[in-house]
Symmetry: C2
Subunit: 378 residues, 2 copies
C-alpha cells in the first residue's frame, strides 16, 4: 500500500522553496507519494495565477511532484478558513494520510488556539479595521500566541478543519525557508526566493535572476509561457462593474455593506487596475479582500456558487508513481475522479473551475478544460 | 417664431447623401431650423456607432445641422416599430413641426398599410423565418404594397407612431439618392456613397475614396478619430456570455426561445465576432436581431431598461440658429433639457445612454457623459 502526503500549494510558480518543502514533507512523513492539492487559475489572495493550471501542474511534475489535483475554485479563492477547509476535505477525499504545508511558526500550538476561539465571531465586526486583525488580537489576549503570518493563519485553518472533519489527516507544518513571503526582490546569494520576487523578475524580463531560484522545469515555463497579471483582466472587471446594475452587483458573493457603490464609482473613473484598487481601498477592506471580491465579480459568483464542498477530484497530471497510487485508490473514492471534460461535467460539476479557466483562456488563448487531458509524465 | 424640421439620423458617418437630405428637408418644408434626432453610441442594427456621439454630432454641425439631440439608447437600439416611436415622440417633445426621413419609396401609402395591419401579430410566430418577413408578406397580400426596404419599414413606423401620438408632426419622406443602402464599395463617379461603403473604405485605409463622398467636417473625423467596430467589443461580449450563468442571460431583453444556450456555446468556441455571428445564425434570427441582442447583453439590459419612453431631451450640440430655437422653446418643454451631467442625472435619467457611452469610452478612452458639455458651434 502506497501512503501519500498531500501538499497544499499554489506553485505560482513552483520554485526552489517548494522543492525544499517537497523533500521535507517526504522526509518528515516517509510518504511514498506526493500529491499536490493545487489551486487552479485563481488564487487565495484573489489574483489570477501567473501561469495557467496546466503550465503550473507541468512544472510541478517536472519538479518531482507525483500527482497534481486541482483545488476547486470555490475553495481556492476564499478567506483562509474556507480555503483550509476545502484543502483538508480534498486531501482526505484523495486518501492522503498526511497533509503538509508551509508555516512561519510550525511549532505553534494550533490546538490551544482552537480551544480559545471566540464564541461569537460576529462581535468582531468593525468598520475601521479588517476582521482578521481584530480576531488575531482577541486570540493573542487569550493565548499569548500571535497569529498574524499568512501561512500560520492557514495552518490554524487546516488544524481546525481537520478537527472538524474528525481528524482524517496527520498535519505536517514545515518551516518556511529562505526569504520573506512577500519579498519583492531576488537577492544575490540565496537559492530560494519568494514567488512574488520571481514574478517581479519576469515582469522586469530579468530571467537570469530567476534562473538561480527555480528548477529547470519552471524555467522553461517562465521562458516560454505568457505570464498573466490582474491588469490583463482589468478591462473585463471594469466592464462588468460599469455595466452591471447596482442590484446585480449586490448579489455577488461577499458584496456587503454597500461596497458595490464604491466599486462601481472607482471602475468608472480608473484607467488601470492599480488605480482602481487605490480608489477602493478602505481601512476595513484589505487589498486581498478587494481582489477576491473582484474575482467573484469576474466569475459572476453568487453565494451558492462559492459555498460548496468538493464533490469531485479533478486530475491535472501524474507520473508513474502517481499513476500507481491512483490505481490503488480509485476503487475507494466516494466522489468522481474527473479526467475527461464533457458538457455535462462542465455544467454539473466543474462549473466554477470552468468559468475561472475561461477567464484565463480569453487572455492566453489556451483551452483550460475542453479537450484537455491529464498530463502524463513518462 | 422659428419652425423646426426634425431629421431622424444615425450619421454613421455624416456624408454627402445626408447633406443632400438636409437640403431637401429644408426645401420641402421651408423650416428655419434643422434638428438631428441622432442615435448615440449604439445603432438600430445593433452595432456600435463607428464614431462616438460627440464626434458624429460635431461632424453633423459642421455639415450644417443646427441642433443635435440624442435619441435615447432604449429607442435607438430597437426593432423598427420601437425605434420609430421613440424618434417621433422625441421630435414632438422638442416641438418640431415636421419630421423628415429617408425612404426608398417616399410615395408609399403608409395610411393604407396602417389600415391593413394584422390584428394579432403574435400569429406570425414561426421558427423558420424572421417575424418581419412573414409580416411583410401579410401586408403585401392585403394591400399590394411591398414593404421590405429598411427605410420604408422605418417610414411606415414613423407614420404609425405619429398617428398613435395624435399626429403631432408632418411627415416628410425624402427619396434616398445615390447608391444602394448597403453597397460596400464607393464607386468612381457618384458624389454619394453609402455609410457602409465609407466605413469599409476607412477599414481599408482608403481615405482618398472617402474624400469625394463626405463633407470636409466628416473628413476630419475620418482622418483623426478612432473608428469602432463590433470586433472592439467582442472581448466584452464573449466575457459576458461565457461567465454569466444561463439564468442571468435569460433575463436579458429579447432573450427568447432559449437562444441564450446557443449564444453561450458559440461564445465559448468562437475566436472573433464574425465567427461568433456565423455560429449563432439561424433561419429565424437575422444578423440584425442577433446583433441587437448582443448589444443588450453588453448593456446588461432587462426589459424595464429598454421599454421606456424618453422623459428627457439630451443636447449634444448646436449653432447660433439652434441656440435661438432652444431659447424659443425651452420654456415650453415638458421634459428636462439635459446639458450637464451629474451623478443624479446618470442614475435617474440617462442610465442606458451612460452605459452605452461607457462601452465606447472603455475602447476609445474619451469620456462620453461626465465632464462633457454640448458642442457650441461659433
Amino acid at each position: 500500500m502506497l501512503q501519500a502526503v498531500g501538499i497544499v500549494s499554489e506553485y505560482n510558480p513552483f520554485h526552489n522553496g517548494h522543492l525544499y518543502m517537497l523533500e521535507q514533507a517526504k522526509q518528515a512523513t516517509g510518504a511514498d507519494v506526493t500529491v499536490a492539492i493545487m489551486s487552479g487559475n485563481w488564487l487565495q489572495r484573489g489574483e489570477p495565477a501567473a501561469y495557467d493550471k496546466w503550465q503550473r501542474a507541468h512544472a510541478a511534475l517536472l519538479g518531482g511532484v507525483d500527482l497534481v489535483i486541482e483545488l476547486p475554485l470555490f475553495s481556492a479563492v476564499q478567506p483562509s478558513h474556507l480555503f483550509s477547509k476545502g484543502a483538508v476535505d480534498l486531501a482526505a477525499k484523495i486518501k492522503c494520510r498526511w497533509l503538509a504545508f508551509g508555516a512561519e511558526h510550525p511549532e505553534m500550538d494550533y490546538q490551544k488556539l482552537i480551544d480559545h476561539q471566540p464564541k461569537n465571531p460576529a462581535d468582531f465586526k468593525r468598520f475601521d479595521r479588517p476582521y482578521a486583525s481584530v480576531f488575531q488580537d482577541y486570540l493573542f489576549e487569550k493565548t499569548g500566541i500571535r497569529l498574524n503570518q499568512p501561512n500560520d493563519v492557514l495552518g490554524f485553518g487546516y488544524a481546525k478543519a481537520n478537527v472538524e472533519a474528525g481528524r482524517p489527516l496527520s498535519l505536517v507544518p514545515i518551516k518556511r525557508k529562505g526569504s520573506q513571503h512577500d519579498a519583492t526582490q531576488i537577492d544575490d546569494v540565496s537559492p530560494i526566493a519568494s514567488a512574488t520576487a520571481i514574478r517581479q523578475a519576469v515582469v522586469k524580463h530579468d530571467l537570469k535572476a530567476a534562473d538561480r531560484v527555480v528548477p529547470k522545469g519552471t524555467m522553461g515555463m517562465l521562458e516560454h509561457d505568457r505570464m498573466l497579471t490582474w491588469q490583463d483582466f482589468w478591462p473585463f472587471l471594469r466592464f462588468e462593474l460599469v455595466e452591471s446594475p447596482i442590484e446585480k452587483l449586490h448579489q455577488i458573493y461577499q458584496m456587503t455593506e454597500g461596497i458595490e457603490y464604491r466599486l462601481k464609482r472607482a471602475a468608472i473613473k480608473a484607467e488601470s487596475f492599480t488605480e482602481f484598487l487605490h480608489l477602493v481601498k478602505t481601512k476595513r477592506y484589505t487589498y486581498t479582500r478587494i481582489q477576491r471580491l473582484c474575482t467573484y465579480v469576474l466569475l459572476h459568483a453568487v453565494p451558492s456558487d462559492m459555498l460548496q464542498a468538493a464533490g469531485y477530484v479533478r486530475l491535472l497530471g501524474f507520473n508513474a508513481v502517481g499513476q500507481r497510487y491512483l490505481n490503488q485508490i480509485k476503487g475507494d473514492l466516494d466522489v468522481p475522479l474527473i479526467t475527461k471534460i464533457t458538457d455535462d461535467v462542465v455544467a454539473d460539476t466543474i462549473q466554477m473551475d470552468f468559468r475561472g479557466g475561461m477567464l484565463t483562456q480569453m487572455i492566453n488563448g489556451l483551452s483550460q478544460d475542453y479537450y484537455r487531458h491529464p498530463i502524463i509524465m513518462e
